[in-house]
């Protein structure tokens, strides 16, 4: 199976041939990388399974897809199916307390405008509209606690 295609943020990337990989802790995903010319080595971490992988290099998480030919065909079909624009659900990325709601049901919102303010980890985070449009539904009220992934606002 040597036909894996690697993608980062949807763009194909060729694996380097200038470095080699050595396992330090296979279960934890710890790898040592050595440059083949012997001038450098560094540690990295790899997590994931199947198609989806995350490599942590110098503290930075890099999400990758490693796809077989078959998975690539499936992924392309999925993208084609999603291409038409539909309603957008804005969801909480973190669990927390809703402290303010500026979205008004039935109103209009511009891209990047604040919808809801959620307090989590002692920080107030503004959730903004991913695109402009009509506010079809406001699913939360100030004072309410929300779980990660909870629906906040639906853009029609």
């Amino acid at each position: 199976m040597s036909d894996l295609e690697l993608r980062i943020a949807g763009e194909p990337v060729d694996p380097t041939q200038d470095w080699t990989l050595h396992w330090l802790d296979r279960d934890a995903g710890v790898v040592l990388l050595r440059r083949v010319d012997g001038t450098a080595s560094r540690l990295a971490l790899v997590e994931g399974s199947g198609r989806d992988w995350v490599v942590t290099l110098a503290g930075r998480r890099i999400a990758l897809e490693a796809m077989t030919w078959r998975e690539r065909v499936m992924a392309e079909a999925e993208v084609a199916a999603k291409a038409h624009a539909g309603p957008v659900d804005v969801r909480a990325t973190l669990p927390g307390l809703v402290v303010a709601v500026s979205a008004i049901e039935g109103g209009e919102v511009g891209e990047g405008e604040p919808l809801v303010t959620i307090e989590a980890m002692k920080m107030q985070n503004e959730v903004r509209a991913p695109r402009g449009g009509h506010i079809a539904e406001v699913a939360v009220a100030a004072g309410q606690t929300v779980a990660a992934g909870a629906l906040l606002v639906r853009l029609g």
Partner: protein
């Protein structure tokens, strides 16, 4: 030697609870942990001799509940309570409740906490003691004073919460029209964080460095000045990196800062550990910011350069001991730097990240200290601060300490969630940081969202993902011999066609 106390309760969680318990073990003091429901399996609970549940996950009902904590101390027979930092560490009411229960509070007297906890009162006290303060108001803002505020303070200005700390309730105002909405949001954040919406205004001093002086006082008038710390690497007005000594402070500035710190401390009834924070302007003049009468997150850098255990001395002072000659005459040796590992995405405005810690490898070797509150598999409750660990290094000189820090960070791996490690690793190669010539604008001006990934990093990540998928495929459990496995399944597996999810 008889321990200062038989049993001590640590009214905190995370790395600082573990830090305090380590000293207690060395002194022969039994430790009591407190925990909320989400922390039942946390490391600080496992590290203590005994543990007391204090309530549900929200801090207001557990770690901020003076009543629950005092009751836990009474149940467990603790003779003293160490509050750590944050939570109730600067609450005069808490200190009073502890003393009323005939338990020793490891901190200053309750009245001192009450005075200094009000940042406005502290500003007035410092000004009265002849210490320069940041230009601005010494009275609270009401909602109708915008015109007079602008006239008196000038732009740009900083709104601050009187009950503030940790950067919360702070808003910078650059333009007149921003004042009203900034004031409203600062008030909201202050009310939610501290239960007090009082806001005041200061002129923005920029460029500026954040330098603070560590003090340790006993109940007999002994006061030790344990040098300064430079804390200018900040995001959201919260510190990320601290070092001692401050790299760009002259000996005369150092003495002036120490003198101001002692004047502020002398203006209140103070004993135990305290930090006096200053802004130092481009011309070298300094302005009092606030005095924190508790252990600071970054106390470890002072411990490394002085060789003292500040927690030990907090406990001894609380027990009535005098500071020793070694403490009063302590001198700094070498250079120490601390970096804070946070569950935050520095590529997305240092947004806090929730989740579970995956792999966890901390650095070691000469001159490296790690104070961690989590380990592999730890779940990060969203209710609390996202600090994971502090990595500290000590070396003979600043350049050696920076090299040591770079080496230590190269040994550090955290899985499961994005941390600020990528920012910290970038920082140790950043020319202004390496030169020791930086101010509080460093993160905003030089980091932004961080540099893009290099082609080499992308190609390395691709190599790792490809090799890992191949390796995992190869080590998949063998097919059961004979039995139900159909010939076509085997053939398909050999050909690499696999429809079942697997690791």
């Amino acid at each position: 030697m008889v321990p200062p106390f038989r049993r001590l309760l640590v009214a905190n969680r995370g790395e600082i609870a573990l830090r305090v318990m380590r000293t207690c073990r060395e002194l022969g003091i039994e430790t009591v942990a407190v925990y909320s429901d989400v922390d039942a399996d946390a490391l600080h609970v496992a590290a203590a001799d005994r543990a007391e549940r204090i309530g549900p996950a929200p801090a207001a009902e557990s770690y901020l509940s003076a009543e629950a904590i005092v009751a836990a101390a009474e149940r467990s027979g603790a003779e003293a309570i160490h509050p750590g930092y944050g939570f109730l560490s600067e609450s005069g009411d808490f200190a009073r409740a502890v003393e009323a229960a005939r338990i020793t509070f490891v901190g200053p007297p309750a009245e001192t906490l009450a005075t200094l906890g009000d940042k406005l009162a502290a500003r007035r006290a410092a000004a009265d003691a002849g210490v320069p303060i940041v230009p601005g108001l010494t009275v609270a803002l009401d909602d109708d004073t915008s015109e007079s505020v602008l006239a008196q303070v000038g732009l740009p200005l900083m709104l601050k919460a009187a009950a503030g700390g940790g950067g919360r309730g702070m808003r910078r105002v650059d333009r007149t029209e921003e004042l009203t909405s900034a004031l409203a949001s600062a008030r909201r954040e202050a009310a939610s964080a501290f239960g007090d919406p009082t806001i005041y205004a200061e002129r923005v001093v920029a460029p500026a460095r954040h330098v603070e002086v560590q003090l340790l006082g006993d109940r007999h008038g002994g006061l030790a000045v344990l040098g300064e710390r430079e804390c200018s690497v900040q995001r959201r007005h919260q510190k990320l990196v601290e070092e001692s000594p401050a790299p760009a402070i002259s000996q005369s500035q150092r003495e002036a800062l120490a003198d101001s710190a002692c004047r502020v401390a002398g203006s209140v009834a103070f004993h135990n550990a305290a930090t006096v924070e200053f802004l130092v302007g481009a011309d070298g003049s300094h302005y009092f910011l606030e005095m924190n009468t508790r252990l600071q997150v970054e106390h470890g850098v002072t411990e490394l350069v002085t060789g003292l255990d500040l927690v030990e001395w907090q406990i001894r002072v609380a027990a009535g001991e005098r500071l020793s000659e070694a403490v009063l005459g302590a001198e700094a040796r070498g250079h120490a730097i601390e970096v804070r590992l946070y569950a935050e995405d520095p590529h997305d405005g240092f947004r806090p990240v929730a989740g579970t810690v995956g792999a966890w490898r901390m650095p070691g070797g000469p001159g490296v200290r790690v104070d961690a509150g989590v380990g592999a598999g730890s779940i990060l409750p969203v209710e609390y601060d996202p600090l994971l660990a502090k990595v500290l290094v000590h070396a003979d000189s600043r350049p050696a300490a920076v090299s040591r820090l770079r080496r230590a960070l190269d040994e550090t791996l955290v899985g499961g969630l994005q941390t600020d490690l990528s920012f910290l690793r970038w920082l140790v190669d950043e020319p202004s940081f390496v030169a020791g010539d930086y101010d509080t604008g460093l993160v905003a001006e030089r980091w932004g969202h961080g540099p893009p990934l290099s082609d080499e990093e992308l190609a390395l990540a691709a190599l790792i993902a490809r090799e890992t998928r191949h390796a995992r495929q190869a080590t998949r459990p063998p097919l059961p011999a004979g039995g139900a496995t159909r010939a076509w399944t085997e053939a398909a597996r050999r050909a690499g066609v696999d429809r079942t999810p697997h690791r």
